[in-house]
C-alpha cells in the first residue's frame, strides 16, 4: 500500500505538512513511482476500502459528490457575470494531497486537470517552504504556462487540513468576462504574445486566514476592465471552496480520517479502472487515424497585430492516431501537429489532454466516477514545439479553444467509428461544432461604466448527428455539455446591444442521412454604447469539423457587420429594417434595406477591435454540427420538414439531398415523390460520371505535390508538421511515393517563421520545475 502514512519514518526536523509527515513533494514522488511501477494509481493493485466495505465506500462517494455539485449550484448565485450565472461556466473539484482529482461538480470540467496541474506545480516547486502552505490559505492561478486553458479561467485553490496536516485540496474556477488583455473580452484576438494576453497569476498566495490580502485586491481589481464581475466571481469561487472544505471536515469527523484517506486515493484508481472497462465494452481494438484543421486568417486588414512576423494567413493542423489495445488501455498520439504560432490559439499540454477528457466524459465515460483516474488511464504523446505543447514562453493562449474544438472533433469521429462497429449507434456522434462566433468587445456601456462584453450564446451550437437521428439544434458546446444560449433579456442587461433577431440558422448543420443540428444567429443593434468596439472570433474559410460516413461538415463561418446604417431614420420613417436572420447569405435581403451602409460581409470571421456606434449592426452566428451518412439516403419527408421548419435553404433540397418539393400557396412545401426518386437517380449517375479511380486521382495529386503547387498557408502548415513530426513526414513521403530527397522547408516558402529555430521554454527560467504530463 503506497497511500499508507509513514508517520514513523518522517519524525523530526524535516517533517512535512502532508498527513503522516511527508512533504508534498515526497508524497507525490512516492505515489508516482508506485503508479509507474504497478500501472495502478498509487500502486493500488487492490482497493481495500471499496472491496471490503463497498457500502461505506459508496456512501462516502455519494455524499462528497452531492456536496461538490451542491456547492457549485449555491455559489454560482453570488456571481454577477451571466457567463457564470446563466451559462454555468464554473466548476469545483476535490483533490487528494497529491493534487489528483477525486471527484468534481459539473460545469467547465476541463479544469479538473488544469487546477490539478497548478497544485502539482506548487508541489514540485516547493511552495511548501516558500511561500508556505497553511490551513486557511488562499491561492490564485491562471497561468497558461503551467496548464491553464486561457487567462480568463481563474482558479482559486484552498488546501484542506485535518488536525494540522494537509489531507487534500479544493479548487474552484470561473470563466471571467475580462482579464485585462490588449483587447476587451475574455478571449480577445490581436495580441500575439503572452505579454498582451491578459493578467496572469502564477499560483500566488492571495490570502491567509480565509481573508484576501489587500495588496492582491488592489492590484487585481485594477488589472481588469470589469472589476465588479471580477470581485463577485472571486467571492463565488471562495464561497464554493469553503463550502466543500467544510463538507470534507464534516465527513472526516463522522467517517474517520482513515476511511477518507483511503477513499481519496482508491477513487482515482477506481476511475482509471472504470475508463478501461468502458473502453473494453464500447470500442474495438485497433488504430484509428483522423485529422483536424482550422484557419488563422491574419493577412486581412481587419486583423490588427503589433508584429510584422504575425501578419500572415496560416492553417493549424492536427493529425491524430488512437491506438486501442485489447486490455482496454489506449494511447493518443498527435505526431504531425503543426507548430505553435503568433496568435492566441495555442494550448498547453494539460489543457489539451484535460479537454479530451471532457469530451470523453460526454461520450465514453459519462459516469459519476469521473476523476484523474481517466488521465492515468490514457497515454498521450504530444510532440514538443507543437501548438498543443509549445516550447516557448512567449506564446499566447487567450482563445486556445479555436483549435482545441476543431482538433478534438476528429477524435469524436474516431471513437464513433468504433462505437458503430460495436453497434452502439446511439452513441455515434459525427463530431462537435466549432463553438463560435464569439461576440466580444467593450467601451462604455449603457450604465456609463468601463465595460467588456463576451456573449456566451455559442454555448448552444448544433451537435453532430448520431447513426440513428439528427443532431440537436442550438443545444451544446464541447467544453460544457450543459449548454445554454441564455435569455435575450439577460444579455441585453450585460451588453449595450439590442436584439433584432434570434433565429435558427438554416443550412448550418451538415447534410447527411441524419443531419447535424443547426446553430442559430442573433442580429444585434448597438444601442446606448459609447466609444464602443467589437470583433469577431470563429472559423471562416475552413470547416473545422468533417461529418461521418458520407455526412457533410457543418457550414463554416462568415461575418456580417454594418456601419452608418441609417437605421435611425429608417425606424423613424417606418421603412423596412433588418429583422430576424440572414437566412440565405448568398442572396442577402438586408443589405438593400440600408443602401448607404458600409457593410462587411465576407469569410473574414476573425477580426480585432473595430469601432461601432449606436444603430450599427453585428450578426452573431452560432455554428451547426456535422452530419452522418449520405444525404441521398435521408428520408425525403425529413428534408421537406427541414424546409418547412427553416432548417434548410430551398435550393439545397434538390442540390444536396436530391429531394424535389413543391411550394403551396401558403408557402408550405410538400414532397414530390416520383420527382425525388428521379433526381436522386440522376445525382448518383452524375457522381459516377465525375468519379475517377483512386490511383489515378492520387497520381495527379502527386504531381501537384512534387511541383509544390499549393497556397503558402498550406505549404507552411505541412512544412512545420514535417519539421516537428519526422514520422509524419516519413509516412507522407511513403504514402505519396515521393523521392527520397523530397522535402518542404519553411525557409523556402518565403513567409516569416519566427520561432521555428529560436525558442526558449519556461522550464529554462531559474528555479522553475515544470511538471511533465505527457510523452513528447
Amino acid at each position: 500500500m503506497n497511500i499508507n502514512v509513514r508517520a514513523t519514518e518522517t519524525q523530526g526536523a524535516t517533517r512535512g505538512i502532508v498527513r503522516g509527515g511527508e512533504t508534498l513533494k515526497e508524497h507525490r514522488d512516492r505515489l508516482m513511482e508506485a503508479t509507474r511501477r504497478t500501472k495502478h494509481y498509487a500502486g493500488l493493485e487492490k482497493l481495500e476500502l471499496r472491496d471490503t466495505q463497498p457500502i461505506h465506500y459508496n456512501k462516502l462517494f455519494s455524499r462528497l459528490r452531492a456536496g461538490v455539485v451542491d456547492a457549485r449550484e449555491t455559489a454560482k448565485k453570488i456571481a454577477a457575470s451571466p457567463i457564470v450565472e446563466q451559462e454555468g461556466e464554473l466548476c469545483f473539484t476535490l483533490y487528494n494531497a497529491a493534487g489528483d482529482s477525486i471527484l468534481t461538480s459539473t460545469g467547465i470540467i476541463i479544469h479538473v486537470g488544469t487546477m490539478g496541474a497548478a497544485i502539482k506545480y506548487m508541489i514540485e516547486n516547493d511552495w511548501e517552504s516558500n511561500p508556505g502552505i497553511h490551513d486557511k490559505d488562499l491561492f490564485c492561478n491562471n497561468d497558461c504556462l503551467i496548464g491553464n486553458v486561457h487567462p480568463c479561467d481563474i482558479h482559486t485553490i484552498v488546501p484542506i487540513f485535518w488536525e494540522g496536516e494537509l489531507i487534500g485540496w479544493v479548487g474552484g474556477v470561473t470563466h471571467v468576462i475580462d482579464t485585462g488583455s490588449v483587447g476587451p473580452g475574455s478571449m480577445s484576438t490581436g495580441q500575439v504574445q503572452r505579454f498582451g494576453d491578459g493578467y496572469q497569476i502564477t499560483c500566488r498566495k492571495v490570502g491567509a486566514n480565509d481573508t484576501l490580502f489587500r495588496d492582491w485586491l488592489h492590484e487585481s481589481q485594477r488589472m481588469v476592465r470589469t472589476t465588479r464581475y471580477w470581485m463577485l466571481d472571486e467571492r463565488t469561487r471562495i464561497a464554493g471552496c469553503h463550502m466543500i472544505r467544510k463538507l470534507v471536515e464534516e465527513v472526516v469527523a463522522e467517517e474517520g480520517i482513515e476511511a477518507y484517506w483511503k477513499f481519496a486515493y482508491e477513487a482515482v484508481e477506481h476511475g482509471r479502472q472504470g475508463l478501461q472497462n468502458r473502453i473494453k465494452a464500447m470500442t474495438i481494438p485497433g488504430t484509428y487515424r483522423q485529422v483536424g484543421f482550422v484557419d488563422v486568417p491574419y493577412a486581412h486588414e481587419d486583423v490588427r497585430v503589433p508584429s510584422d512576423f504575425a501578419k500572415l494567413d496560416t492553417i493549424m493542423h492536427s493529425p491524430s492516431e488512437i491506438t486501442i489495445r485489447g486490455d482496454g488501455t489506449w494511447r493518443l498520439d498527435f505526431e504531425g501537429a503543426s507548430r505553435w504560432g503568433w496568435h492566441t490559439y495555442n494550448a498547453h499540454q494539460v489543457s489539451f489532454t484535460s479537454g479530451i477528457w471532457v469530451m470523453m466524459t460526454q461520450t465514453l465515460i459519462p459516469s459519476e466516477m469521473i476523476n484523474d483516474g481517466a488521465a492515468y488511464g490514457t497515454e498521450f504523446r504530444l510532440p514538443k514545439g507543437t501548438w498543443m505543447n509549445p516550447d516557448d514562453r512567449r506564446v499566447a493562449f487567450s482563445y486556445a479553444w479555436h483549435f482545441l474544438v476543431s482538433s478534438w472533433t476528429a477524435l469524436w469521429r474516431g471513437l464513433s467509428r468504433s462505437y458503430y462497429g460495436r453497434g452502439y449507434l446511439e452513441e455515434v456522434n459525427a463530431g462537435n461544432a466549432n463553438t463560435s462566433n464569439w461576440l466580444q468587445g467593450g467601451g462604455f456601456n449603457q450604465y456609463d461604466e468601463i465595460h467588456a462584453v463576451n456573449s456566451f450564446e455559442c454555448a448552444a451550437n448544433g451537435t453532430g448527428a448520431t447513426a440513428v437521428h439528427d443532431g440537436l439544434s442550438h443545444a451544446a458546446a464541447i467544453w460544457n455539455p450543459e449548454g445554454d444560449m441564455g435569455d435575450m433579456e439577460i444579455w441585453e442587461l450585460a451588453e449595450p446591444l439590442v436584439y433584432l433577431g434570434r433565429q435558427i440558422k438554416a443550412n448550418s448543420g451538415g447534410a447527411g442521412k441524419y443531419r447535424g443540428g443547426c446553430g442559430f444567429e442573433s442580429l444585434r443593434m448597438v444601442w446606448n454604447a459609447k466609444d464602443w468596439t467589437m470583433f469577431f472570433m470563429g472559423n471562416g474559410h475552413m470547416s473545422s469539423d468533417w461529418g461521418l460516413m458520407g455526412g457533410y461538415p457543418a457550414a463554416s463561418g462568415y461575418r456580417f457587420a454594418a456601419h452608418d446604417t441609417g437605421l435611425k431614420e429608417l425606424i423613424a420613417s417606418g421603412a423596412p429594417i433588418p429583422f430576424g436572420g440572414d437566412t440565405d447569405p448568398q442572396n442577402p435581403v438586408w443589405d438593400a434595406l440600408m443602401p448607404d451602409a458600409k457593410i462587411k460581409r465576407d469569410k473574414q470571421a476573425i477580426t480585432t477591435e473595430e469601432m461601432f456606434k449606436d444603430y450599427d449592426l453585428y450578426l452573431n452566428y452560432m455554428r451547426g454540427g456535422p452530419g452522418f451518412g449520405d444525404p441521398l439516403d435521408r428520408e425525403p419527408q425529413s428534408v421537406v420538414d427541414d424546409l418547412n421548419g427553416g432548417y434548410l435553404v430551398e435550393r439545397f433540397a434538390a442540390q444536396v439531398y436530391g429531394v424535389v418539393a413543391a411550394k403551396a400557396a401558403d408557402g408550405a412545401f410538400t414532397l414530390d415523390g416520383p420527382a425525388t426518386e428521379a433526381r436522386r437517380a440522376e445525382i448518383r449517375r452524375e457522381r459516377l460520371a465525375k468519379s475517377v479511380p483512386t490511383r489515378e486521382w492520387m497520381k495527379s495529386e502527386r504531381e501537384k505535390i512534387l511541383a509544390k503547387e499549393a497556397g503558402d498557408h498550406v505549404k507552411q502548415m505541412f512544412a512545420s508538421s514535417f519539421k516537428l513530426g519526422p514520422k509524419f513526414f516519413k509516412d507522407f513521403q511513403t504514402f505519396w511515393d515521393l523521392p527520397e530527397d523530397w522535402k518542404l522547408l519553411e525557409e523556402e516558402i518565403g513567409v516569416p517563421h519566427y520561432g521555428s529555430h529560436y525558442h526558449m521554454d519556461v522550464s529554462e527560467l531559474p528555479d522553475v520545475k515544470t511538471v511533465q504530463f505527457v510523452e513528447q
Binding site: D51, P54, I55, N58, K59, F61, S62, R63, A66, D70, T74, K77, A80, P82, E85, Q86, T106, R228, M231, L232, R235, I238, H242, E254, Q273, G274, N277, A281, T361, Q362, T363, P366, S367, M369, Q446, L472, H474, A475, A476, P481, E482, G483, D484, D487, E489, I490, E492, V498, Y499, G501, R502, L523, M525, N528, I571, G574, I577, F579, G580, A668
Partner: protein
C-alpha cells in the same frame, strides 16, 4: 370516531388530492375529526372519481353523500391533470405573438430545457439530451415590429399594422388562444398592451371568441423564455383545467355544496378556479403536504420545519423557515423554465420503488433514477419486475408485512426478493443477502440524510433548529434512517401520513400572490433623497400589486377590509443576477430610514444563505422585484386534541413479532396496528407500526411516543 350513532356529523372541510391513479378526499368535521376516502381516478371526467372517493370517505362515517356535503363550508382541489396535459402536449391550439425577428425563440427554448430533470450522468452524456416539442408550433407564431430596451425606453415604435396582420393570421388559423410576449414588457408594457388591444379588436371583428393573454398582464418578470412559457401555459393548459374545475364545482353543487372550489397553487396558497392566473395551479399535489406541515407548525408552535415525503418514485423535501415557505421564482417543471413563484421543493429520484443496479464497469451501486412505481418490486410476482428495488430490500430485512401490503391487496413473496438480491447485488459485491440489502438501505438513507442536511445548511441553518415532518406512503419506513444523527429538534410522523397531502389542501390559506419586476439601483453611499425615492418606487409597485390582489378577492366576494396584506421584495447586490426574496419587515415603505431597514433585512439573510464573506455591500443594492400577498380567513381542519392515556399500548394493538435485520443482526420486532394505538402510548424499538397505507419502522435504539394530536414523535435513545 366518538360521535354517538344517530347524531349526524357536521362535515365542514374537504381536501382533494387527485393523483394519476388514485383520488384521495379528506373530510374534516366540526370537532376536527377527519376521514380519508379513496377511489380510482377518472381522467375523462374527474368529477366521477371525486364523488366516488367522497362516498368512500363519508361512508366510513356512515354518512350519505348528501348528508356529508350539506354543511360543507369549503373545499380545496389539487391534482396532476394540468401537469399531465402539458407533459403529454394535449393542450389547446394557441397562437403566439412575439417580436419580429424572434419568432424562433419559443421553439428553440433554452438549451437547458434539453437536459432539465436529468441525473448527473445524463447531464454530461450529450447523446441523451433531447428537446420536447414547443407548446406553440413555429407556424402559429407571428412577429410584430417593435423594440423596447431594458430601461423600458422605446427603440423602435410599434408598427401597428404588423400586429393587425399577425392577429388576422392567427384568427384565420382557428387558434383557441393568443399569447403575446414582447421583450422587456415587464419593464414597459405599453407596446404589449397595445398589441393585446389590437388583437382583441381583430377577434371582435372576426366574430370569434378567442381568449388573449399578454405576458405583462400575467407574469411581468424578466427572462423572456420563462415568462413566455408561463403565459402560454395559461392559454394552453389552464383554460381546459378551468373547465374541468367548473365541472367539479358544479357536480358538487348538484350534491348540495354552496361554495366555489379553490385550487392549491404553486405559491402555497389556494386560489379560486376563477382566478386569472390559473397556470400557477400546474403542480399542486406535493405542495399540499408542505402546507399541511406549515399549518400544523402554526397550531403547535414549530417555526422551522423540514418536510419530507417519500413515495414510490421520489423523495421530496421542502423547508419552512421562521414559519415561511421558501419560494423559488424561476423554477422548472415538465422540462420548461417558468416564472411562477413555486414553493421550493427539491426532489431526489429515489423512492421505495427505485431500482438498484451495479454499474457494470465500476461496480458502483446505483439507486434509480427509474423505478418500479406501483409495481413494487421482484417480490410481487405478478408485477413482471426483474430488477430489484428498495422494496425488495425492505422485504428481505423484515420491514414490510408481505401479507398486508396496501391492506393485503397485493401479496408479496419474500423469497423472490432474497433470490434476486443475492444474484444481482450480494454475490457481485461479496456480501451476504442481508448485508447487501441492509447496505443498500443504509446507502439510500445516507443519501437522503445528506440531502436534507445540505438543504438546511444551504439556508444557513443547522438541523438542530428544525423539526422534521415525515409523511407519504413510504416516508415513515425511512424516517429513522434519514434523520438519524442529524440532531433534529423533533421528528414527527402524523398518524395520517398517507393522506397528509389532502389534509394540507384542506388547511391551506385562501391567498393570492402577485409579483412585479423592478430595477431600483442604489449606490452604497446614496444620499437620503435617493433612498427615499427608492422606497417610494417600491411602495408604488406594492400599491399596484395590492390592486391586483384585491381585484382577485373581489371576484370571490371579499371586500378589501377582509384581506390581510403582506408585502415582500427581491433584493441583490448591484450587478448580481440572483436575488433573494425577503418578506418585508415593514407594512409600507416611504422614507430613507425605511429603505435602510429593508437593506438590513437583506444583508442578514444573505450572510446566512451564502457566507458572510460573500456579502458585497460596497456594490450597493438593487431591488429587482416587488411581491404582494393577500389572504382572507377560511375554515380549516382542527388539529385533534385527545387526553393522554397510559404509556403501554392496549393489547388489541399488538399484532405479534417479525424477524427484522439491521446493523448485522436479526432481532424480533414487535408489531403494532397503528389505528389501535392510543394517545400517550410509548413504543420502544425494535418495533413496526403497521397501517393499510403506510408502515412506521422504529428500530432498536429508537422509541416513539403518540401524543394527543395523533402525532408520533420519534427519538433516538
Amino acid at each position: 370516531m366518538n360521535v354517538p350513532v344517530g347524531i349526524l356529523r357536521n362535515v365542514q372541510v374537504l381536501g382533494i388530492d387527485a393523483g394519476g391513479t388514485m383520488t384521495d378526499t379528506f373530510f374534516v368535521d366540526q370537532d376536527g375529526d377527519f376521514v380519508v376516502g379513496k377511489a380510482q381516478s377518472t381522467p375523462q371526467n374527474e368529477a366521477l372519481g371525486l364523488i366516488a372517493s367522497s362516498e368512500d370517505g363519508l361512508g366510513s362515517w356512515g354518512l350519505s353523500l348528501a348528508d356529508g356535503l350539506k354543511h360543507l363550508q369549503t373545499g380545496v382541489y389539487s391534482g396532476t391533470a394540468m401537469l399531465n396535459r402539458v407533459v403529454q402536449r394535449k393542450g389547446l391550439k394557441c397562437g403566439l405573438i412575439v417580436n419580429a425577428g424572434m419568432e424562433d425563440f419559443h421553439r428553440m427554448g433554452r438549451a437547458i430545457q434539453c437536459y432539465l430533470g436529468y441525473a448527473y450522468e445524463d447531464r454530461i452524456h450529450l447523446n441523451t439530451h433531447r428537446y420536447d416539442p414547443p407548446l406553440v408550433p413555429r407556424n402559429l407564431t407571428r412577429g410584430v415590429a417593435e423594440r423596447t430596451d431594458m430601461f423600458g425606453k422605446v427603440v423602435i415604435p410599434l408598427r401597428e399594422e404588423t400586429a393587425r396582420a399577425a392577429a388576422r393570421d392567427l384568427i384565420a388559423a382557428d387558434v383557441e388562444g393568443i399569447v403575446i410576449s414582447l421583450l422587456h414588457s415587464y419593464k414597459n408594457p405599453a407596446h404589449e398592451r397595445r398589441v393585446r388591444d389590437i388583437v382583441t379588436e381583430e377577434i371582435a371583428k372576426s366574430g370569434k371568441a378567442i381568449p388573449v393573454f399578454a405576458s405583462a398582464d400575467y407574469y411581468p418578470v424578466r427572462k423572456e423564455t420563462h415568462r413566455t412559457n408561463t403565459t402560454i401555459l395559461e392559454g394552453y393548459a389552464a383554460e381546459p383545467s378551468r373547465q374541468t374545475l367548473k365541472k367539479i364545482s358544479d357536480a358538487f353543487k348538484e350534491h348540495g355544496t354552496k361554495f366555489d372550489f379553490r385550487v392549491m397553487a404553486t405559491h402555497g396558497g389556494t386560489i379560486s378556479w376563477k382566478a386569472k392566473e390559473l397556470a400557477r395551479t400546474i403542480v399542486s399535489g406535493p405542495i399540499g403536504g408542505v402546507i399541511g406541515a406549515k399549518y400544523l407548525g402554526e397550531v403547535l408552535g414549530y417555526n422551522n420545519i423540514a418536510c419530507s415525503d417519500i413515495g414510490g418514485t421520489s423523495f421530496d423535501v421542502a423547508l419552512i423557515t421562521q414559519g415561511e415557505l421558501t419560494i423559488k421564482n424561476d423554477p422548472d417543471m415538465a422540462r420548461l423554465v417558468l416564472s411562477l413563484p413555486l414553493v421550493a421543493m427539491d426532489s431526489v429520484g429515489a423512492g421505495a420503488g427505485s431500482f438498484i443496479r451495479l454499474d457494470p464497469y465500476t461496480k458502483a451501486i446505483k439507486l434509480g433514477p427509474d423505478s418500479a412505481g406501483y409495481r413494487v418490486g421482484v417480490c410481487w410476482k405478478e408485477s413482471g419486475i426483474e430488477t430489484v428495488t428498495i422494496s425488495d430490500c425492505h422485504m428481505v430485512l423484515g420491514y414490510l408485512n408481505p401479507d398486508n401490503f396496501l391492506g393485503g391487496a397485493v401479496k408479496l413473496d419474500r423469497q423472490r426478493s432474497v433470490d434476486a438480491i443475492k444474484a444481482q447485488v450480494a454475490d457481485p459485491l461479496g456480501l451476504s443477502v442481508e448485508d447487501a440489502a441492509a447496505g443498500v438501505i443504509e446507502l439510500l438513507d445516507s443519501d437522503l440524510r445528506d440531502y436534507l442536511r445540505s438543504m438546511i445548511s444551504a439556508k444557513g441553518y443547522s438541523p438542530q433548529s428544525f423539526v422534521c415532518f415525515s409523511y407519504g406512503g413510504a416516508g415513515p419506513v425511512h424516517t429513522y434512517g434519514y434523520t438519524e444523527g442529524l440532531g433534529f429538534e423533533d421528528v414527527i410522523v402524523p398518524a395520517w401520513a398517507a393522506g397528509f397531502s389532502a389534509f394540507g389542501c384542506a388547511a391551506a390559506d385562501f391567498e393570492y400572490r402577485y409579483d412585479k419586476s423592478l430595477d431600483i439601483n442604489l449606490a452604497p453611499d446614496a444620499p437620503d433623497d435617493l433612498s427615499e425615492k427608492a422606497a417610494k418606487t417600491l411602495q408604488g409597485a406594492w400599491d399596484e400589486l395590492t390592486r391586483n390582489v384585491l381585484e382577485e378577492f373581489k371576484l370571490n366576494g371579499y371586500e378589501a377590509d377582509q384581506v390581510t396584506l403582506q408585502p415582500g421584495y427581491r433584493m441583490q447586490y448591484r450587478g448580481q443576477l440572483n436575488d433573494l426574496e425577503i418578506e418585508s419587515p415593514l407594512p409600507s415603505a416611504d422614507t430613507a430610514e425605511d429603505w435602510a431597514k429593508l437593506v438590513d433585512a437583506f444583508n442578514a439573510t444573505y450572510g446566512r444563505v451564502y457566507a458572510a464573506s460573500a456579502r458585497s455591500p460596497e456594490l450597493g443594492y438593487s431591488v429587482t422585484g416587488a411581491i404582494m400577498r393577500g389572504s382572507v380567513p377560511i375554515q380549516k381542519p382542527k388539529i385533534p386534541k385527545e387526553p393522554l392515556e397510559g404509556e403501554t399500548p392496549p393489547a388489541d394493538a399488538f399484532l405479534g413479532t417479525r424477524k427484522f435485520y439491521r446493523k448485522k443482526r436479526w432481532v424480533d420486532a414487535q408489531l403494532y396496528r397503528m389505528e389501535s394505538l392510543r394517545p400517550g402510548n410509548r413504543v420502544a424499538g425494535p418495533a413496526i407500526i403497521e397501517s393499510d397505507a403506510t408502515t412506521f419502522v422504529v428500530p432498536d435504539g429508537f422509541e416513539t411516543f403518540l401524543d394527543g394530536h395523533r402525532l408520533f414523535h420519534l427519538k433516538e435513545v
